[in-house]
Symmetry: C2
Subunit: 322 residues, 2 copies
């Protein structure tokens, strides 16, 4: 069953329709949801959206959760216990539940109304990966309740983005190697972005750097940077700036201007320069984080290689009790 | 005019009442708003809430912004240009606007329907400081639209919390000195919390450590910690854990258990141990960040003293163009 049909069926079976959308997951899967939170915060005229890390959703159940709620829960491995609990909580409260996982035997599946078994890996089209699927769910949910003027433009963008990424991966191949060479001995990075991509600044920090490379990291919103965080800027500290195309680009540009003057170790990944503008201006901003995810995966692979620290190495996750 | 009367007047003058609340500010003032975002995400059955850094609100104006919106904008100095612009944007879209500042000549004031000139400094009652006032606005807005069962309990809590803080400040005086002594040479901290206080983990990171001490910092949600960030945990890296009383306490406790086993430099500030439980169980969680703000100010003052780095010292903010 495709996303459109799932949303249509949920709407048809619920008296009040979908009034609020909860995006619930942990770590990397939660990162995949920030785009949809940003999208609905910005575009929805009535629909409510909330993003929760699974364990907080379970322990501090929002009072609005009910039959007019749609809860989307994602877990790559399908057995993240907090996320399985979150899906159960959603169902106990009568909410419609869509789960996403890459594991066809994941416990998550038996705790939802609909499960989407998504594709994964570099050879897949990104529109079949969780960030884009969840975005598609948010867009369909919005369009089917209150209408969304740019619906067709988003749908077209979802068809375009994989081609953009394929070209951009080639474009960054050499600079990703240079990045890894230059920054291999650093032990802390700041990652800046804004708008739809702030979540991916957070994601690159907690997943790619902290979890996969055991390197310290801190995500800062490009707009917030000037209200405290910029005081630590110096020529020794490395900054990765994820520059969006779209409405919040001026925030990223302002950060870049400052960093160029007062910093020195600055790595810019710029969706505009990487060719994202074939997507319609009115919706292009929502595609930045989809591009960033794939492109920064090239950077992290090079970092892992030169640091001889494979991306899969863990010391705690799945190895000790917690 | 007090908060209750302001909200009553706004409700009376707007056909649809207040349907959505936007919390808009930068840096430390934005930190003061996370509590209210968490509160409404959790407690509101219909009202929408969104939190925005001012410049993003201005550049990516949410489509729902209109006559049924209440926009709260806060700037301590009253002249933060992004926040002044945000208040103008709100007014241009017909939203009701409440501004908060400590500066009676701030430009913010002439761009709002109502301004609250708040008190500041250790000698003031925290209920007259911005975090509590904004929380009061959120509670009044909710209660006056859809009703809020725990309204009286929150109001009582607002009367109680200053006394709790006064005692807690004495209680932490020696340990804040010990903290400063022990950690004065560290150049990076992680700050963890959950629920209503996650915003204060962020706030202590960006304001107290980065802005005021030029020390690197990264805020991590206690629930998210186990889904990536915990992989950097070791006996060399300092962690400050802000433990909440209330529904999300189990998330903080879980982080503590892990940190005790795999970390070594751990500073715990625990609202339960600091006597927050005189506030009613059903609302106590919302008071954690109010207590943390005041208590962590004791810690940062000791850190500033021993590091001979006054809290007011800046190299960029207000000193260079940006």
């Amino acid at each position: 069953m495709n996303v459109k049909d799932i949303i249509r069926e949920i709407q048809a079976n619920r008296e009040e329709g979908i009034k609020d959308l909860y995006l619930v997951a942990c770590g990397g899967s939660l990162v995949d949801m920030y785009l949809s939170e940003y999208f609905l915060k910005s575009e929805a005229k009535q629909m409510r959206v909330s993003l929760y890390t699974s364990n907080e959703f379970v322990h501090a159940v929002p009072k609005a959760l009910g039959s007019h709620s749609l809860v989307v829960v994602c877990s790559h491995g399908g057995n993240t216990k907090e996320s399985v609990e979150a899906a159960k909580t959603a169902q106990e409260h009568g909410a419609a539940t869509i789960t996403l996982t890459h594991n066809e035997t994941g416990a998550l599946i038996s705790n939802s109304d609909y499960n989407i078994l998504y594709k994964w890996g570099e050879e897949t089209d990104v529109k079949d990966n969780p960030m884009a699927i969840i975005f598609n769910i948010a867009v369909e949910a919005l369009h089917s309740t209150e209408g969304y003027d740019n619906y067709e433009k988003v749908m077209k963008g979802l068809e375009q983005v994989n081609t953009i990424i394929a070209k951009a991966r080639v474009q960054v191949a050499e600079r990703a190697k240079a990045f890894a060479e230059k920054y291999q001995h650093e032990n802390m990075f700041y990652v800046l972005s804004s708008g739809a991509s702030y979540g991916h600044a957070y994601g690159f920090s907690i997943c790619s750097l902290m979890e996969m490379q055991w390197v310290h990291a801190s995500a800062i919103h490009s707009g917030e940077y000037f209200h405290g965080p910029f005081e630590v800027t110096d020529k020794e500290t490395p900054y990765i700036l994820l520059m969006n195309e779209g409405r919040t680009r001026p925030l990223d540009e302002r950060a870049l201007t400052f960093l160029k003057q007062y910093g020195e170790k600055i790595e810019v990944v710029d969706c505009k320069e990487l060719g994202i503008n074939t997507i319609d201006d009115e919706v292009v901003e929502f595609f930045n984080p989809i591009v960033f995810y794939s492109i920064l995966s090239v950077y992290r692979a090079e970092l892992a290689e030169i640091r001889k620290h494979p991306l899969e190495t863990r010391r705690y996750m799945g190895k000790v009790a917690y």
